[in-house]
Amino acid sequence: MNILAEQYLLEMKNIHKRFPGVYALKGVSLQLKAGEVHALLGENGAGKSTLIKILGGIYSKDEGEIYIEGKKTDIKSVNDARAAGISIIHQELVLVPYLTVAENIFLGREPKKKSGFLDEDEMIRRTGEILNELGLSIRPTDVIADLNIASQQMVEIAKAISFGSRIVVMDEPTSSLSDKEVDMLFANIKKLTQRGIGIVYISHRMSELDAIVDRVTVLRDGEYIDTVATKDTTNDELVAMMVGRSLDNYYVRTYNKCEKTVLEVKGLNNNKLHDVSFDLREGEILGFAGLVGAGRTETVRAIFGLDKLDSGSVKLDGKELAGKKPSEILKAGICLVPEDRKAEGLFPEMSISFNETLKVLDQFIKGISVDHNKEQEIIDRYIKALSVKVADVENPISSLSGGNQQKVIIGSWLAAGPKILILDEPTRGIDVGSKSEIYTIMNELAKQGVSIIMVSSELPEVLNMSDRIVVMCDGRINGVMDHTEATQEKIMQQAVLV
């Protein structure tokens, strides 16, 4: 072995990948050391997923080489990847919900007794060992569906360990975790690195980099930009590398005078909410902060008529909306853009144009006459406004990258021209450049007099975009503050206050 050359756990060298019409990877390299957390950064469509899929054996590379512990390795299938000690933990977890932890970990390679029946004791014993080693409080006999998402993620990690993986790829592991769960995940990642496991970490949250990441590789438009150590760079420098320009005005906000009250919410009560009251003014962005489970999503669901209320009133311009159906509330001028836009906003089989125009069919369909020019006009306007990259709007929406799908869906709600726009986690799963575009649009809408309720778990976003901030905890409103007096500390105090 050549002692002089640094021994990498994994080295991907000069990887090229072409799809029909797309040159997805143009000579990308990645070097992962043992015991390091290595972030892969880039906007949506930069080539992160493609690179990971090549590593995981889902795609095959056109050119380039992969070395594992200095040995050239051919990865042609998922099984090859697994045999080479690579585990990929996908954003969407792939556990079987109604099986136990042990059954999931040994799925497809269950230990058998001599009689040919399952050796459940052995399965549970070995799972227990792995869980103990990771210091997890999960039992091997717990059913997956009963675990929260953070715990499920831990099970995925345990599964990876049980395969003896030395290279673990995590694709946006924190996107659906609460702060406490994120801390737990980070602690577990540290444990893995101490065992010499190398971790490739994909995330859109810049704040996480300082917390756990050692080095960062940045991709842009399928090209390798650079690899840098986290401690030697600032987040601004990384963002500039990702988008190819510096985003000086990342948060765009001009504050308006908001005086007229448009929405009056009084005394909302149901099994998740306790006496929730607030008002929303014209042209205002009202931020909702709080921990996961504090009742923010439940509040906006109740306002939109998706959850039943035991008591309370929701008045839009003096008109009572409580007890109405979502379809009526939408007509009255309130739109709710849900948090999980893939599950609750997307029609994956249908075309981009179908998805974009579904909420505004009234504008171009009268009886059986469809005004195609008007339809095209609506599509063009919002696709341009959100700079979605589209080849043909009649293609299925599933042909777009995840970030572009998000933009189409958000655009479909904007097209409805709401008086009040409720955004639940507006920038979740969206890359840095697009985030800034969404902030710009929010600011524009507020300027035009649209009132916005923004539920967000990202404090910088809440602090920089809101006029006023509502802090919720345990189904109650704990405080409302003006943006001029709000700080991260004040919000957190109220978010955990009993």
Binding site: P20, F304, L306, K325, P326, S327, I329, L330, K331, L336, P338, A343, E344, G345, L346, F347, P348, E349, M350, F354, L358, K359, L361, D362, I365, G367, I368, S369, V370, H372, S399, S412, A416
Partner: protein, 321 residues
């Protein structure tokens, strides 16, 4: 005009698999039976597929909306018996037609109400309703057939417009055009796709999911009534055995035509080809003098082969992506 050319191109591209299948079947039958390509026989085939096509039209909508309706087969029997009984009581034909259509709508609204207001699976709900209707029809008739002697009525099923086109083919064309318009040119149509494609997202989009579901099941009930009336007119009787298993032929026609049983995807134009394949198969195998028990086996084989061709086509498409 350009749009029409585009549409036609798209239609052939989308349905290439089963169109080839359809052509193959036609060639095989033509080679083996000179009677096949006669005007008489073709009109006969069209008349025969009309009942299936009524059901398949509404089934396309039901499947796209993410449901299924197994009650339509026994709806045919019930409506046939009902029409026969009323006709024999000398109730005027227009009144009989209206009563039958209302009865069909009622069956549909029972299905629709249960399915849209609860989380009971449509498969089980409509299967139960099927059983209730079937049993009810047997109880009412004691298992015997109700003869229909009203010549005006039977002529509505057996007669010809302009001496060539069987009446049922005209009804069929009207139904086809209506369903095509609803699915492609109305808000309701897009709502149907939305509800079947992603119910949660449809609700967030302000779509009235309950009303959309109600519509497809009521329409399905009405089509069952129409099929029941046409069939009893063609057979000069209301038979409690009529329409047995017809729901499966309708579903097969939809799936052959590319409609997804998981909801959110499907086309009425494809369903028409699907219904043609099933109809031609029945007709052609008869013409070729193939034993009727063997016909049942062959029907299964051909349907399986046709969906397999389609699967291969989609596989190629998804690989290209």
């Amino acid at each position: 005009m350009n749009k029409m050319v585009d549409g036609t191109k798209k239609y052939f591209k989308r349905n290439a698999g089963i169109l080839i299948g359809l052509a193959l079947i036609c060639i095989v039958i033509t080679v083996n039976s000179p009677q096949f390509l006669t005007q008489n026989n073709i009109m006969n085939v069209l008349r025969q597929i009309s009942s299936n096509m009524f059901l398949a039209s509404s089934m396309t909508m039901v499947l796209i909306a993410g449901g299924i309706d197994l009650s339509v087969g026994s709806g045919i029997a019930m409506i046939g018996v009902m029409a026969g009984t009323f006709l024999n009581m000398n109730i005027p034909i227009p009144v009989v037609i209206i009563i039958c259509l209302i009865a069909g709508a009622l069956i549909g609204s029972v299905n629709g109400t249960i399915i849209s207001r609860t989380t009971l699976p449509p498969f089980i709900v409509t299967y139960s309703i099927q059983s209730i209707l079937k049993g009810g029809t047997y109880v009412f008739t004691g298992g015997t057939t109700v003869r229909i002697d009203n010549r005006v009525w039977t002529n509505l099923g057996t007669g010809y417009a302009f001496g060539v086109i069987p009446y049922p083919v005209i009804y069929l064309s009207v139904v086809f055009v209506i369903v095509w318009l609803v699915l492609n040119k109305t808000k309701l149509g897009r709502h149907i796709y939305a509800v079947g494609g992603n119910e949660k997202a449809a609700r967030f989009s302000g779509i009235n999911v309950i009303r959309t579901r109600m519509f497809v099941y009521i329409f399905s009930g009405v089509m069952a009534a129409l099929a029941g009336m046409v069939l009893c007119a063609r057979q000069y009787s209301g038979n409690p055995l009529a329409g047995d298993g017809a729901e499966m032929d309708a579903i097969a026609a939809c799936v052959l035509g590319g409609t997804s049983m998981a909801g959110g995807y499907g086309f009425i134009g494809g369903t028409l080809i699907g219904a043609l394949i099933i109809g031609l198969l029945n007709n052609g195998l008869n013409l070729m003098g193939i034993d009727s028990y063997w016909q049942i086996i062959l029907k299964g084989v051909v349907i399986l082969a046709a969906v397999y061709i389609d699967y291969l086509k989609n596989l190629k498409k998804s690989k290209a992506n």
